[in-house]
């Protein structure tokens, strides 16, 4: 940004100088300067691209290396020098993973849990956000401050009481054990409150004058207006669930209730050394999230910004 502004100033300056400069020698000097300037800018842009390409490469190479390993058998993995291309391709690791472990079940579990949490949270958080933003309810302020304070407390710090609570409710090793605690996270409420605060209150007042109930206002007036925010929120929650680990690890006890992360971790811990299978599980675990990311890039990239919207 800075440089673009700077460039425009430089051009203005040049134009001014040129217009007042006498023709002839001074003019060619200026033209040469402008040419040099342009070249410098192009070089700068080239340098930036080179630096970025290099950095990107560093970020991407780990994926490539594990993909390479996943299409080798366990002897080829150890051979040196390693092959740099995935040919000939050995599919044995993937067939073992997909047909001889419960990998697909774990993936299904993760999609069910992450999907339900995202769907429930989008509805609840937008309602709660509307209530906090636009309704005068006693206790609103206390709830808001409490949520703010506990905003960053993670489930990993609460495993003792959470586990006993879920056990008391008789929900250990069920989908509910995985879904319910995730619903408590206040981040989405803040995002939604922030979004809804930006909507004009007149709109809701007008609807109220027309005799609409608060719920109808929420559904008919508020929801359509915050649709982009809802998608971002769904993406944030889905991703957080997708990568969650410690709570699913302790809340499930049977192999077929495990989530992807837990199943893959146990594959690694229980099955004996099998680098081929491990690499295949790492690669397959990333397929769903990569697809979703590719489809919703813009929303994902604003996931980073969500933090700043909080206050």
């Amino acid at each position: 940004m800075g440089s673009e502004g700077w460039i425009s100033v430089a051009t203005i300056e040049q134009v001014e100088r040129r217009s007042s400069a006498p023709r002839g020698a001074a003019g060619t000097i200026l033209a040469r300067e402008a040419r040099r300037e342009r070249r410098r800018r192009r070089l700068g842009s080239l340098g930036r691209h080179a630096a970025l390409a290099l950095a990107t490469l560093v970020f991407v190479v780990p994926f490539y290396y594990v993909i390479l390993s996943s299409v080798k058998n366990n002897n080829q993995i150890f051979s040196y020098p390693p092959k740099l291309l995935p040919f000939p391709t050995y599919w044995g690791n993937f067939t073992q993973l997909l047909f001889h472990t419960q990998f697909l079940r774990w993936m299904l579990n993760t999609l069910i849990v992450a999907g339900s949490v995202a769907a429930l949270k989008v509805v609840m958080d937008s309602m709660a956000g509307y209530a906090l933003a636009k309704l005068q309810i006693t206790g609103n302020k206390i709830i808001f401050v409490l949520m703010l304070i506990l905003l960053m407390v993670p489930l990993s710090a609460l495993i003792v009481p959470l586990w006993t609570l879920i056990r008391m409710l008789g929900l250990l090793n069920t989908y509910w054990a995985l879904i319910l605690p995730a619903l408590a996270n206040p981040l989405g409420v803040f995002l939604m409150r922030q979004f809804i605060l930006g909507l004009p209150s007149d709109l809701m007042n007008a609807a109220r004058l027309d005799g609409l109930s608060e719920f109808t206002i929420y559904r008919r007036v508020v929801l359509p207006l915050i649709k982009p925010g809802l998608v971002v929120l769904a993406v944030i929650i889905f991703t957080d669930q997708y990568i969650s680990f410690i709570w699913p690890l302790i809340a499930t006890t049977s192999n077929n209730m495990e989530l992807l992360t837990v199943g893959v971790a146990n594959l690694h811990a229980r099955g004996g050394v099998n680098f081929g299978l491990w690499s295949a599980s790492a690669v397959m675990s990333l397929v769903p999230i990569a697809i979703v990311f590719f489809a919703l890039q813009r929303q994902f990239l604003s996931r980073s910004l969500a933090g700043a919207l909080k206050q």
Binding site: M1, G2, S3, G5, W6, R48, A51, L52, A55, F59, P62, F63, Y65, F78, S79, Y80, P81, P82, D125, A128, M147, L150, M152, V153, P154, S156, A157, L158, V160, P161, L162, L165, P181, L183, A184, N185, Q194, Y242, I243, I246, I250, L260, T261, V264, A265, F275, A282, S285, L286, I289, A290, Q297, L301, S304, L305, G307, A308, L309, K310, Q311
Partner: protein
């Protein structure tokens, strides 16, 4: 929503403090021991080691993550054409579950066929033990940097784009070079944003667990046993250390609460980026 918030967040937070005054096991009867879990904590070497490890880990990974994030953001903010593909690829590691990141890095750090040692061999250098007693924590910090730098890079790009252009034009007219503009304009303008990033990534860093479990199982020895890792062991691998686990969790909760307050203060009065 509010009900879930109270039942599954507020109550467990209070519950953690309550449990920290108890002694006994997860399933058996427990007794009240007052603050004993806290007073015996300093003598509990396996617990204090975990705290130390976690702090070292955060001290290594957090500053690196933020610095790398800023550098990448400075580059990304100025790239027009083709910027999307860079963003996509740099951001993707942040969507990788810790377990999977740990697995991927096992293939990089393996002493026999890992990428790092293969590169070292290719240039004629000695292979390195990446997950040894002295290096394991550093390697875990590197994994964390790889996973999180992209997140903050994208975050900072938005902040950079929001900065007032006029200031930069004025500075350029005054003859300030690129570095001077970064040092005297960009950094001070981003002060709050940077503090926010620092606090949030510290909070994340304090929770490190997945990668330590997968890559080193807390070892070698206790070299990578972190707070959450130790708590998890106290709860599920020891018969009667639940109070100690809760006491440790309480300290983590308190640390996170303090950091949250710092962050809220940093953001107060400013509406962040929007």
């Amino acid at each position: 929503m509010f009900v879930f918030f109270v039942v599954f967040l507020l109550v467990p937070v209070l519950g953690t403090f309550w449990w920290s005054t108890r002694s006994g096991g997860l399933l058996g009867a427990t007794t009240n021991v007052g603050l004993q879990n806290y007073t015996k904590f300093p003598q509990q070497v396996d617990a204090t080691t975990a705290v130390k490890n976690t702090l070292y880990f955060a001290l290594m990974s957090v500053p690196l993550t933020i610095v790398l994030g800023v550098l990448l953001a400075l580059l990304l903010a100025k790239v027009g054409r083709g910027g999307g593909i860079y963003r996509f690829l740099i951001y993707f590691p942040t969507l990788v579950p810790g377990v999977v990141a740990g697995l991927i890095w096992l293939f990089l750090t393996n002493p026999d066929f890992g990428l790092f040692n293969n590169i070292l061999r290719a240039v004629g250098a000695q292979p390195i033990t990446w997950l040894g007693i002295n290096s394991a924590l550093r390697t875990l910090a590197a994994v964390d940097v790889w996973r999180n730098a992209g997140y903050w890079a994208i975050f900072f790009v938005a902040a950079l784009i929001g900065l007032p252009k006029e200031l930069y034009q004025a500075a350029a007219l005054d003859g300030a070079g690129a570095f001077a503009r970064f040092w005297h304009l960009t950094l001070p303008l981003l002060r709050r944003i940077l503090l926010f990033a620092l606090v949030v990534s510290t909070i994340w860093g304090l929770q490190v667990f997945d990668t330590a479990l997968i890559m080193t199982a807390g070892g070698p020895g206790f070299a990578t046993t972190t707070i959450v890792y130790r708590v998890w062991q106290y709860v599920f691998a020891y018969p009667d250390e639940i109070g100690l686990a809760a006491a440790m969790s309480s300290m983590l909760v308190v640390a996170i609460l303090i950091l949250t307050l710092v962050q809220l203060r940093a953001l107060r009065g400013k509406r962040g980026l929007d």
